[in-house]
């Protein structure tokens, strides 16, 4: 290892020395008595509207290309290439905007407030990936979303997450979706954008907290493939649901599954469903009893969810700046806190009476009371739905992608011997014939 030390130190010093040189005396000594006149302020012209349509065009083209590459070409390298392009264009070049993930909030805000301006381009950005998912699966997640791309690229040594944990973690995107809708609808901010863990990377700027979050998620992404997509992304939650009804979803094999099991561990997202085990099925009566019990539990889940949601309206409403300001002013006036904040100073300067501020805050809190209750109902329904889903079993005869979890990344294609045959990467031989026509997997496969 010692032989690497000196080159590393040298490598580290070169940029620093360059930086020193660049910034030396960049700013002259200040002069207090000069005849210098301040130049007039220059304002950058607004971005031409046409560029929004250009971005939309690029998005449509990328979605079409992704669908074609995944469903027709079935080539992971090509999908990877498109993913890198999307990362560079939508991520680094456009700095995370345009973003269908974040546009969800604009749609909600526009639905909640008719006065909220929603450009047609933004609406298209939101709906296009959903429409494409309905026809072709989650091709947006596969190769167009820059957030997905950066996670996919850093997934170097992904671990397999136990199924039971996967079930639980998979609930969070729905809960996050509920919170996103609640906050956006009630004007408490766009939490997806505020807590985007990758935007710091795309913009190469941000505070220490945002930077730490980025590093944390990138580091986590090395051992857990696409952690944000799988366990947080609220837009992904929507795509999951739509993906259930996809018309032409990517399949692992281009032909009939021979159950060679070579693809079994190829998916880092745990999205390959194995054929149902050859075992004695549990008695029908037992299964029906379980489902009956879960159906009976529905009111309990809804009641608990609604109750919890209602209780949470106070903490949730603190995210709204008016409520936060009113609480701050109350605390300042009653002497619970010392000093003032920029916000409270600005408010005092505006001359509004505390009564009016309090009234405004109470009005917002009343809205949160209803919104949080609805969120609680939604959370209860999601938990109950998951319980129900885990109580039903669908019989499968082949290896197939879990349509909700599968992001159509095309990794598993190359593991299928039928795919290799299709792409003429496997020589015809008696062994291969045996493999591609039977379920015997004792034969080792050799690729070209």
């Amino acid at each position: 290892m010692s032989k690497y030390v000196y080159p590393i130190i040298l490598l580290c010093l070169v940029p620093l020395a360059w930086a020193e040189e660049e910034s030396e005396f960049k700013f002259a000594l200040p002069e207090f008595d000069t005849e210098y006149t301040m130049p007039e302020s220059q304002h950058a012209p607004a971005r031409a509207a046409v560029w929004a349509y250009v971005d939309l065009g690029v998005l449509i083209a990328a979605l079409l290309l992704a669908a074609w590459l995944i469903l027709k070409v079935r080539a992971r390298p090509a999908v990877y290439g498109l993913m890198v392009f999307s990362l560079l264009y939508f991520g680094f070049w456009k700095e995370g905007c345009i973003c269908p993930v974040g546009s969800l909030q604009n749609i909600v805000a526009a639905l909640a407030d008719p006065a909220y301006g929603l450009p047609a381009v933004l609406a298209a950005v939101f709906f296009l990936p959903l429409i494409f998912t309905l026809f072709f699966g989650r091709v947006f997640c596969a190769a167009v979303c820059p957030l997905g791309a950066v996670q996919d690229i850093v997934a170097l040594k992904p671990l397999k997450i136990p199924g039971r944990l996967e079930h639980i973690l998979g609930l969070f995107p729905y809960l996050y979706l509920g919170l996103t809708v609640l906050f956006a609808a009630l004007g408490a901010g766009f939490i997806i954008c505020r807590h985007d863990p990758y935007v710091t990377l795309f913009r190469l700027s941000g505070g220490l907290t945002a930077l730490t979050l980025s590093v944390l998620f990138l580091g986590l992404g090395v051992i857990i493939a696409r952690p944000y997509c799988r366990y947080l992304c609220p837009y992904g939650a929507l795509l999951r649901v739509v993906s259930r009804f996809t018309k032409w979803h990517a399949a692992i094999t281009p032909d009939e599954c021979v159950q060679c099991r070579l693809c079994e561990d190829s998916c880092p997202f745990g999205a390959i469903r194995a054929p149902s085990a050859e075992r004695e099925l549990e008695p029908r009566r037992k299964g029906m009893q379980r489902i009956g019990l879960i159906l009976v539990l529905l009111p309990l889940f809804l009641g608990l969810g609604a109750g919890a949601g209602y209780l949470l309206h106070v903490p949730f409403s603190k995210a709204h700046r008016t409520v936060a300001l009113a609480e701050r002013v109350t605390a300042e006036n009653s002497g619970q806190v010392e000093g003032t904040t920029l916000e409270s100073d600005a408010w005092r300067g505006a001359g509004e009476s505390p009564a009016d501020l309090h009234a405004r805050a109470q009005l917002i809190r009343a809205r949160f009371r209803i919104g949080s209750l609805l969120f609680g109902l939604f959370a209860g329904l999601i938990l109950w739905g998951k319980l129900l889903a885990l109580s039903t079993e669908r019989m499968r005869t082949d290896y197939e992608p879990d349509r909700m979890k599968c992001v159509s990344c095309a990794r598993c294609f190359s593991f299928c011997p039928k795919e290799k045959l299709r792409r003429k990467k496997l020589k015809q031989s008696p062994q291969v014939d045996k493999l591609t026509s039977s379920q015997d997997t004792d034969t080792e496969v050799t690729s070209e």
């Binding site: 580290c12 620093l16 190829s266 919890a308 109350t330 001359g351 009476s353 309090h358 209860g380």
Partner: protein
């Protein structure tokens, strides 16, 4: 590709990945240190430079110091921008390093990966079934956790909008007094003569600041106790003045938590009762910022001899009977007024008149004192005012005189009908009007002193050639008009033409208003010095005494006693038997 070539490539790629990882790790560490350094190198908040600048303010001609400041400033800015440059370059290099790490690592992993070799036994489907069973338990556990977490969140994030949140409430003493009979709404009120003999409002009967029947002592000494009949601590802060009804002295006090009306025994100074008002449900106890110099209880209470009325900075208007029981209360709304609300109410027969002027509305309310029912109100354009209304009797009618920050107006107190107005005021008006005979006087610092015909509202004369008051109200004694400015001067003016008769410097500022008691004028400055001087054409000081306590309020005079509110104590000055 031969296996040896493949192995070599894997090793090479793995080596590149290791170097890239170490490079990125060292660089990341350096970037963190640079970032930390930038936090301490803020050129706009450099303690050393700020210290030198302060030195320069004391020694503006010091060229050497100027040079040092320039060099320090340059050094700090240079260091800051060096760090920023390093950060920008470093970030770019970090991305390159991470890119190389990912590409080489992924390539090495892919090349070195063995072909998949599934285990001989099948059983994934069985696992899935088992995990679904476990998953159900997990979901149930998450549901329970969700409920517990909700409880924890609610507990640790309390409602910051709740009234009096976190403010320690003093324990309310158990009230074991016998429940008094409610005061009948039609209970007869004392006569005007009886009221006039007491001190029933700010600056006395009708706010005239005159007590001709009083004969108080002219000196006192708190150290020896000379002429100090009693001295009692007031439980809550406030700047309101005392009022007196027979054997009771009333003062108000207040904090953010509660506002209080106190009743003291006029003979002993013992606290008889305290009525605490903690605000209504609408607006009174909501967030409110008051100036330290005004506080929550700057307005003086008033009484009709049957009930006592008080209004606070929160807009709470309360009415108690003489035993401290609430008769009625009302939320007028939190007044939006700089410094805080300070206008004192006044009684006119059965009517309680409240001047409620602030930045958002200017209303004069007349309530039925017995019931709190509104009799009339005048709502004019917002025109804030800190002064108090006074009543003037002229011939067989009464005038309600009200100062605002732009004018003085006269109203019929029984109907609220406006009789006249005079645009002689301006700025932030604090002093209340004064009057004598048929002339009204309005004065405000930085504006003028104006004499007005009380019958028509026309100006008789005006002058700005005297030291004008900005807090203390003028005193009209008939033959003379006295003004006390915050600029430490007492001015005596001829009420006929505004000519200055004399002026006299005092030791400290006066917020307390001068009062004519008997033939002498009593005035307190903020140091607590009581000046007693003759109502005459020359300044004739009779005596000067000190209470050793700040005095802002205006004293109350009844017979031979003076009731003075200090910052902490209520004093009773009078001749000991």
């Amino acid at each position: 590709m031969s296996s040896s070539t493949k192995a070599l490539m894997v090793r090479t790629l793995a080596g590149i990945a290791v170097i890239a990882f170490l490079f990125s790790a060292v660089l990341a560490l350096q970037l963190i240190l640079t970032y930390r350094m930038m936090q301490t190198e803020d050129p706009l908040n450099n303690a050393i430079i700020e210290g030198r600048v302060r030195q320069l303010e004391e020694d503006p001609g010091n060229a050497e110091l100027k040079k040092t400041i320039r060099e320090l400033d340059h050094h700090t800015r240079s260091a800051f921008f060096h760090s920023r440059q390093r950060l920008t370059v470093g970030l770019k290099l970090l991305i390159i390093g991470l890119g190389i790490l990912i590409v080489s690592g992924a390539a090495a992993y892919r090349l070195g990966r063995k072909p998949p070799m599934p285990a001989a036994c099948a059983g994934t489907g069985e696992n899935e079934f088992r995990e679904a069973r476990h998953g159900r338990l997990f979901v149930a556990a998450v549901a329970v956790m969700f409920v517990f977490m909700t409880g924890a969140i609610v507990m640790f994030m309390p409602d910051g909008l709740e009234e009096n949140l976190g403010v320690k409430q003093e324990p309310v003493p158990t009230d074991d007094r016998p429940k008094p009979q409610p005061v009948p709404a039609d209970a007869p009120l004392p006569s005007a003569e009886e009221l006039k003999a007491q001190w029933v409002a700010f600056r006395g009967w009708q706010g005239g600041a005159v007590c001709t029947d009083c004969r108080p002592v002219t000196e006192c000494d708190v150290r020896t106790g000379k002429n100090i009949l009693w001295k009692t601590e007031i439980p809550a802060p406030g700047y309101s003045s005392p009022i007196v009804w027979k054997d009771r002295v009333f003062v108000t006090g207040g904090t953010a938590a509660k506002r209080e009306l106190f009743c003291f025994d006029a003979d002993t100074g013992k606290l008889r009762w305290a009525y605490a008002d903690e605000g209504g449900q609408d607006s009174s106890t909501e967030a409110l910022r008051v100036d330290d110099n005004t506080g929550y209880a700057a307005a003086t209470a008033t009484t009709d001899g049957v009930r006592v009325y008080a209004v606070f900075a929160t807009g709470d208007l309360i009415c108690c009977n003489m035993d401290g029981r609430q008769v009625w209360r009302m939320d007028l709304g939190v007044p939006a007024i700089s410094y805080g609300y300070s206008s004192s109410p006044i009684m006119c027969g059965r009517l309680l008149i409240v001047q409620f002027y602030h930045k958002e509305e200017s209303v004069i309310f007349a309530f039925d004192g017995a019931t709190g029912d509104m009799v009339w109100e005048i709502d004019r354009d917002p025109d804030p005012s800190w002064s108090s209304p006074v009543l003037m009797s002229m011939d067989d009618k009464q005038l309600l005189l009200v100062n605002s920050s732009s004018d003085i107006r006269a109203y019929d107190p029984q109907t609220g009908k406006e009789l006249w107005k005079n645009d002689c005021l301006g700025d932030e008006v604090g002093p209340s009007p004064a009057y004598s005979g048929t002339t009204v006087f309005a004065a405000q610092a930085n504006v003028a002193l104006t004499a007005i015909n009380a019958a028509t509202g026309e100006s008789l004369w005006d002058t700005a050639n005297v030291d004008l008051p900005d807090v203390a109200s003028p005193l009209a004694t008939g033959k003379r008009l006295y003004l006390v400015s915050s600029g430490l001067y007492i001015s005596c003016v001829n009420p006929a033409d505004g000519e200055l008769k004399w002026e006299q410097e005092v030791d400290d500022m006066c917020y307390s208003s001068p009062i004519l008691a008997g033939e002498n004028i009593y005035l307190f400055d903020m140091e607590g010095t009581m000046y007693v001087f003759k109502d005459s054409d020359t300044f004739t000081l009779i005596k000067k005494s000190n209470l050793n306590e700040t005095v802002v309020a205006t004293p109350a005079f009844v017979k031979d006693r003076i009731y003075v509110r200090g910052n902490e104590h209520l004093f009773c000055i009078g001749k000991k038997n």
